[in-house]
Symmetry: C2
Subunit: 333 residues, 2 copies
């Protein structure tokens, strides 16, 4: 064995259920990336505590390994089963809320979900983004402002929704490179965007895979309440990923992926209820009307909010952690 050099790591041997955690931490402690070291430290602690607290059996461990392999195997660019798993465990909503602390009057974020694509077309105001003739017509008129109430122009507003059957375009095998039910609209000098779409409907998240089977075992339904997704982007502003939900939806208080927030629930009106609107936007008076004022924060405001929130966690840990670049790392790094 002359060809092998004894590695320069803390020695360990004779591992037990009690000392294994410290030993794994010790061998990971050579990691030069302080943030990664911190993440692994916390991950290993929680993973081991989970196994000890539950006394996870080998049979259950084997089933979990198989489940995770299946989740990976079924995942593709258009079917993000691991994102879905994170969604149904409430992790996606939590991470979004952590990374985007609620700030003053700014619009709250919510889960991205697995159906955003990067191939939506830029369209002009008034465009009908859905080709589904069975959908109930909807006119959306929104504004984009900053936290001081000033309109923000040239914000790329990425919108996506299902068809009237509750399916996104990417869930159809013949979708090819023709996006449907999605588009990017740019805000004008008054911060306004408007476009035609269809009234969102509730829909099941994909339930024919391992995550769907898990929900079944948990006796959870797999529905999301009616909503329309929005992603707002402009250099200098914190990217906002959010969605608007229709009030009164049967799944409003039991969203399978925990995305609903009170501030994101809207009441649809009728275009005809407002004098002159149908003519101005060239739609039938029966068309449903969605209005919303999005409020963006700047990148600098977001950076500060994250920094402050991280510092609050560090303070609670009494000197063990510090904040570098907005992220928590061990103080001794």
């Amino acid at each position: 064995m002359a060809q092998y050099q004894r590695p320069d790591v803390p020695p360990m041997k004779d591992l037990t259920t009690e000392n294994i955690t410290d030993n794994v931490q010790a061998i990971n402690s050579n990691c030069p990336d302080a943030r990664l070291r911190f993440l692994l430290d916390r991950l290993v602690n929680h993973l081991h505590d989970f196994a000890r607290e539950t006394r996870l059996s080998i049979t259950e461990w084997e089933a979990t390994i198989k489940f995770l392999v299946d989740v990976g195997k079924i995942s593709t660019d258009v079917r993000q089963e691991f994102v879905l798993l994170s969604d149904v465990l409430g992790l996606s909503l939590l991470v979004d809320a952590i990374d985007h602390p609620k700030l003053q009057n700014a619009t709250e974020g919510t889960v991205l979900g697995p159906f955003h694509t990067t191939d939506a077309h830029h369209v002009a105001h008034g465009h009908q983004i859905s080709n589904d003739a069975d959908g109930e017509p909807l006119l959306a008129i929104c504004t984009v402002k900053d936290t001081h109430g000033m309109p923000i122009s040239h914000v790329a507003v990425d919108v996506w929704e299902t068809d009237s059957k509750g399916f996104y375009d990417v869930q159809y095998a013949d979708r090819g490179d023709k996006p449907d039910g999605r588009a990017i609209v740019e805000s004008d000098e008054n911060g306004v965007i408007f476009f035609n779409a269809i009234v969102p409907v509730p829909y099941p998240i994909p339930n024919d895979g391992p995550v769907g089977k898990l929900l079944e075992k948990l006796k959870r339904h797999c529905y999301r309440p009616s909503h329309m997704h929005f992603m707002l982007k402009k250099p200098g502003y914190d990217r906002l990923i959010t969605a608007l939900y229709l009030r009164g939806d049967p799944f409003e208080t039991s969203d399978a992926v925990f995305g609903v927030k009170e501030s994101l629930i809207v009441d649809l009106a009728r275009v005809g209820s407002t004098e002159g609107l149908a003519e101005k936007y060239n739609v039938s008076p029966d068309t449903k009307l969605l209005t919303y004022d999005f409020i963006l924060i700047t990148e600098e405001e977001a950076r500060q909010a994250r920094e402050e929130a991280a510092q609050r966690v560090a303070d609670k840990q009494g000197g063990k952690l510090k904040v570098v670049g907005g992220l928590l790392v061990p103080s001794d790094s």
Copy 2:
């Protein structure tokens, strides 16, 4: 929306970083399987605490999702990358130790590892299980006894090891259905098994996949110390998955998958050092000699040990948990 019925689950809305955990638990609380409900409860708690404590960023979450998908994608029946991930995080060793509490004088278990197969041939005593002519010859003479020292016959002893280059047969593309470096030997009426093999060598765990890349980032080496795997099975006895490690190996105290235990380390002798042994077993006196006495516990002893260990965890939780079928479940289930 007349076709949808409002589900009968606890209502939730307006989720924050603080109340999301209780809300996810509430919606999972309809699960009729008490054990699954308990596992999910603890999993969600740890997962959310991990995200809150580290303030996991969306970028880090995205990188984790991609990592997990990659781990799933590269996994096959002969490349168990999720098992490997569990191994390098110390989880596999921990779960084995939990499921097989150390009992009296019984042989300790250790990690199964990702290279066990189910197609090893049953061979007669004295068979050479390795076809690698470059390997250093080894004669293994072992016994299998119960905790009272009585020999156990008809135990199927599944053995597997790498070749002299540190690769298992399944790591060669042309392996096909011809197992090599693995076999099943059955104990005789005296509890004895003996077979020929080659002296184990240290080897790297597969490091060309996502788990290997993680170890690189952590500045961890990917070597396992020299060892030979054993799985011992007989109806009525607790299946023992273990391995024997060679004393003095350079990686003895830094095993990449945390498998080494003091009681499983052996000193190899020379067959020629014992009068008459070379002639009796028809090998050269220079052949290395591995001897070990395995001690199995019965299924009933294992069941009792698990039950008692689970009860100790339940007692610590002061009435919140109870033990059913050896597994912890909530008391109110």
